[in-house]
Amino acid sequence: MLRCHDVTRLVASDGLAALGPGVRFRVWLHARMCRHCRRYGRQIRAIGEMARRLAYEDEAGVTFAPLAARIRAALTDIRPSTTEETP
């Protein structure tokens, strides 16, 4: 019998994917019956979704062009491959 403690550990550590379908079904069944574990799972998923939105919001006004140009400039002395150059 899965306990709430086991279910939360599996959910937050991404441990479900490594388990067989039988255990995953038992976790699903447990969550159907336990509102606290259901709420916990929703919150863990919400944290991931918010982190994704936050990352892209933070970059909304950011341009990567100056750094990309700096990197391209630094690359000029190592490209193209020496295999196409004079031996």
Binding site: R3, D14, A17, Q43, A46, F64, P80
Partner: protein, 198 residues
């Protein structure tokens, strides 16, 4: 996941168009990872530039069996770890473990269940609070969380770039997510303003 043979060959030959595409594609994610690893903005830019240079200098070694992003993240994080070797490994114990354990009774059921009803991910206020909470997460846990949730790396890719076993990766993710969950809950977010969408 593998790179296509055409792109692998382009990288190995250091084709300028392919190199430009690789920079465009991976620059934002590498910068996010460098910042998640705890580097300041200037340090993060330098580390990312250095990672691209190392990768392209060794382009002939690229065999396409893993995505070039996996190589780039690996190079970047080795650079970061070498510069801060003392923080390269997570502590075997963490106070968040005790906080989580205290929520369960001896029979493994909740004694202090999650308090808030639901977090509306559309509310910009909650996302701002999450940003504050992220600052409190130890670097290595924040990095694992960011690479998984924001950059979408697979378990195999994460284990490779962080140089950890799947079990250790699970511990990093468990601790980071629970630290964030506890932090958000401690800020007393309630569902009363759920209608306030951003």
């Amino acid at each position: 996941m593998r790179e296509t043979p055409e792109r692998t060959e382009g990288i190995r030959r250091r084709d300028p168009d392919v190199l430009d595409a690789v920079v465009r594609e991976h620059l934002p994610g590498l910068l996010r990872a460098a910042r998640a690893a705890g580097l300041p903005p200037d340090g993060a830019e330098d580390a990312v530039q250095s990672a691209f240079l190392v990768f392209f200098r060794r382009a002939e070694e690229f065999d396409g069996r893993a995505r070039c992003g996996t190589w780039l993240y690996g190079i970047l994080l080795r650079t970061v770890a070498e510069s801060r070797r003392k923080t390269a490994r997570d502590e075997p114990t963490d106070d968040i473990d005790a906080v989580v354990e205290a929520r369960f009774g001896p029979d493994g059921t909740w004694v202090r269940p999650p308090r808030d009803p639901a977090w509306d991910v559309g509310r910009s206020e909650i996302r701002r609070l999450l940003g504050e909470c992220l600052e409190t997460v130890p670097d290595r846990q924040r990095l694992a969380f960011t690479l998984r949730e924001v950059e979408g790396l697979t378990t195999a890719e994460l284990c490779k770039v962080l140089d950890v076993s799947p079990n250790n990766l699970g511990v990093l993710l468990f601790r980071s997510r629970n630290r964030l969950r506890e932090c958000l809950e401690s800020k007393g977010i309630e569902g009363s303003a759920d209608a306030q969408m951003s």
